[in-house]
């Protein structure tokens, strides 16, 4: 199994809603990542978890709250988002998070904030 599974595929939420994005992998990887991708732009790194500890936080606003319950799961909790947060949110995993290995990406969650 070389898949990274993200749910939901699409999400529409209001600015006062609370929602969560979920990501799962069963490749035994110990590093997991959240990226944000706006239309016609490259993915931008948000967070890196390595061995279930947050190792990189790219100064992301606190309305985005990551959580890594175990080595296979990664969540992104969303609260009080703004319309400019509408984007494709990509989850990825890699074997250990050293920065040299291959990243495996999910298909993303397309988020629209109204």
């Amino acid at each position: 199994d070389t898949e990274v599974t993200q749910t939901p595929k699409h999400l529409v939420m209001g600015m006062t809603n609370k929602k969560s994005l979920k990501c799962e992998q069963h490749m035994g990887h110990r590093a997991m990542y959240w990226y944000k991708q706006k239309a016609k732009k490259p993915p931008e790194l948000m967070f890196v978890y390595s061995y279930e500890k947050l190792s990189i936080n790219e100064s992301v606003p606190s309305r985005f709250s990551p959580e890594c319950p175990n080595s296979s799961l990664l969540n992104l909790h969303l609260h009080a988002l703004q319309p400019e947060d509408s984007a494709l949110y990509l989850c990825a995993s890699s074997s250990s998070g050293t920065g040299y290995e291959k990243l495996f990406f999910g298909s993303g969650t397309q988020l629209s904030v109204l």
């Binding site: 490259p42 890196v48 190792s55 990189i56 990509l90 998070g97 040299y100 990406f105 993303g108």
Partner: protein
Amino acid sequence: TQLLEQSPQFLSIQEGENLTVYCNSSSVFSSLQWYRQEPGEGPVLLVTVVTGGEVKKLKRLTFQFGDARKDSSLHITAAQPGDTGLYLCAPRGGQNFVFGPGTRLSVLP
């Protein structure tokens, strides 16, 4: 801060044509990865290059790493509509997880 550029930004060609896209940096790469992202999907790794001057081939795709390890190119021979997508270069090493700005390729049948 490493400045990373990709050119061209956009490229639209006919099926059967050849093309080359470039990735350039202000700093030396420890290693470099190329990814392709198709519409509605996440990026998929195509290749990792590590050694200056290295050339790797993947079917119709040829990847070259510059001797000074500050630039790389991707050449596609006889492009097909299935090659359409966003081509991203990604310097790797030292907890570096960023991507270049990308080249958006459209191959028309």
